[in-house]
Amino acid sequence: MRLVLPNPGLDLRIPRHEDLERMEKQEAADRPKWDNKAQYILTCVGFCIGLGNVWRFPYLCQSHGGGAFLIPYLILLVLEGMPLLLLEIAIGQRLRKGSVGVWRAISPYLTGVGIGSMLVSFMVALYYNTLIAWIMWYFFNSFQDPLPWTNCPLNENRTGFIPECQQSSTVDYYFYRVTLNASNSIADSGGLQWPIIICLLAAWTVVCICCIRGISTSGKAVYITAILPYIVLAIFLIRGLTLKGALSGIKFLFTPDVEELMNPTTWLDAGAQVFYAFGLAWGGLISFSSYNPVHNNCVQDSVILSVVTGLTSVYAATVTYSIIGFRATEKYDTCINENIRTLLNGFELPEDSITASNYNAALHHLNSSNPDTVFGLDIKTCDMQKLLSEGVEGTGLAFIVFTEAITKMPGSPAWSVLFFIMLLCLGLSTLFGNIEGVVVPLKDFNLFPQKWPHEILTGATCFVSFIICLLFAQPSGIYWLTLFDNFAGSVPLLTIGLFEMIAVVYIYGIDRFNEDIKFMVGRKPSIFWQITWRFISPLIVLVILVFYLVTQAQKQLNYLVWDINSETFPALTSIPYPSWIYAVIFLLAGVPSLVVPMYALCRLIFVCYKKKIGRYFISRHHENNHGNAFEQTLLTHLNVNTH
């Protein structure tokens, strides 16, 4: 006997198998449909493959033991990612509703899961589109030669560069000062940066117009946004492999360090990355699958999606690290040449006496004969390992490391345009899923009048989001974005994912779910799916969630700022958050996670209250024989049978 929680009235809330068949034949026009299977697969692939595959996975891979990281990643992909993926796809295809509709159909007490998904999708959409806006800014600025981040601006008397730029680097200066005008702390918000506002406007209008009719417009847009990144990655791979030093980067990435597998953080990071990479618990996948034909082979789809996501992550990591290897080699060579020059000038030696190959020997010789002079010259140490591992995660990778590498390639504007178009496509295709996960639940809730067309709803959502996004256009915008990234897109997703699995397996009933899949696909899911759905996947997610909460609660919350006046400049300084931030963090992370139990609780109270009121009025009604008009209306409103 399977463990299933009592769920009365489930059969009334969901369409029967016969109803599904009939609706399929009817081809009811009120629900949108995919034009073909390829559109569906491309939309899902685009949704899953996002900016994180380019700038988070390679960093995790490199910092957790290189090639050895692929082992926990692939294991958890199969044990955690694939089952959850099939769960969401199948439940969407079966119940044919968006995320709120599906959970409400399973049990009205579970509507909180849908609301949580919607809130998370909304908050993630806000900061994700700001990233798109920054990418657009760089994209717009790539159409000039030389690229604006190649050179520092000159100071007043034109003998040198602006000190802020001189001390850090041209790309740092361009990102933190020219683009963002970053302030010193998150509390320090002075005015709005108008270039960012313009780019935000562009980003939100592009998203709006692509999503305006739901999947009938976004389904066409994904032909470009899902395929173009692969083409650009291929071009970069070919270009990257022909550059000097690319292989050292790839070697650095994939050199396995098996000891890292003993470190639990490796497994936790792998699990978290799989979870976020698949776009689970955002509600978008459920929505997209609900437009599928009833007998679509969702099991095959989930396997295909998992394989494609895994392979793309490795592919993108290879390309990224070939470019990083090139940049590190260039910087290393420049460093060595600088040192050689200093030595030649200091000791008045002829030019060719010290070259890169005999540099170490020459330095050693000079240091032993004239140590004082060598010390006075202030030779910098050139460390290739350090160069390979610096700043290679998140926005730092795209806007600092990669832009610098691109300036060193011949024909930089073309490479810059290609790179930023690829990032744009990656981000946009993920955003389509996000917007779907926000707009469809809003529709399900009937918050807006029914006669408003989908276009108005999408437009209103985009407009409101644009206004809220102006928060990120302030000089402190980058710190707000990092805050959102760390808290809105982490804990809530894990909690909602956990609740989803519990809901389907133990409240909807795993037997019923198996029957549904047998009806849709023709075969009951194998023992692998049964075990992972019932025990393994929920356990993995629970473990990750608990460990994450524990580690977060233990350390003091710090963040990195760009502060000219600090000692560690040009490196980012780590300062603690102000105390009012905790309220914001609760709003971002706590509210979506807690809305699930809170909603269930509120509904329980409301239903009990309704029953009590109803019973009280029935007893009064029977006493007084029909009662007065007010009581009649009240009784009918409470849906109580008066006879």
Binding site: R22, Q26, T217, E348
Partner: protein, 216 residues
């Protein structure tokens, strides 16, 4: 320290070559990085190149002072090293008075490009210690290019929005015209038999209970 000053004073009254002393007085240090700049096509440094340098510098002094007849003999190099770097001082024509550092600096700054050109070198490979090159201002076009691209993108988006809004109106108009034509042809052909897959009847979804979702 005192001996050095005395030596300097005594030397300055003696032979011309004694004027040039590294690091003191009005001397400037210059450094050539020929191999770095030209690689395989580097020319070797020899007396002829030194002569060219003295001539170029004399030209710079003439150009700056507007006519004072500086000659090659007024430029005095010393302490030449294998690095190809040396110190030099400039004296006034026909006398042994040293030209002050400031004047030499301004003269070199004015004719820097010409001097560089004579040696096929750049500001980085022909260095004068203490004289910083004036950096060229970056070329900035009148309209920032990013604004142009932004305009293009927003233009495309606006066209798309207008198309999306106008398309259904146009379709409705076309349908109305087609309906008007159909009605004309209907009246001509008479009654048409209904063939709407009427074997099973059409399922009228109005009567099905869709609102089975309980409301909160």
């Amino acid at each position: 320290m005192l001996e050095k000053i005395l030596l300097l004073l005594s030397l300055s009254l003696s032979v011309a070559e004694g004027l040039c002393k590294p690091g003191v007085g009005e001397a400037y240090k210059v450094r050539f990085s020929i191999k770095t700049a030209l690689g395989d096509q580097a020319y070797p440094w020899n007396k002829n190149e030194m002569f060219l340098f003295r001539a170029a510098l004399a030209f710079a002094m003439r150009d700056f002072t507007n006519g004072e007849e500086f000659g090659v003999s007024d430029i005095h190099p010393c302490n030449e090293t294998q690095r190809v770097s040396f110190w030099f001082v400039v004296t006034r024509p026909k006398t042994m008075d040293l030209v002050d550092k400031g004047t030499v600096e301004m003269a070199i700054k004015k004719s820097r490009n010409r001097i560089n050109g004579a040696f096929l070198l750049t500001d980085k490979t022909l260095e004068f210690d203490g004289i910083y090159p004036t950096l060229a201002a970056p070329v900035s076009p009148d309209t920032p290019p990013w604004l142009i691209v932004f305009g293009v993108v927003m233009g495309a988006v606006s066209v798309g929005i207008i198309a999306l809004l106008v398309y259904p109106l146009v379709q409705r108009k076309l349908k109305k015209n087609m309906d008007a034509d159909d009605e004309d042809s209907d009246e001509e052909t008479g009654v048409k038999t209904a063939e709407n897959g009427a074997n099973d009847g059409i399922y009228n979804s109005t009567f099905s209970d869709d609102e089975r979702f309980t409301q909160m």
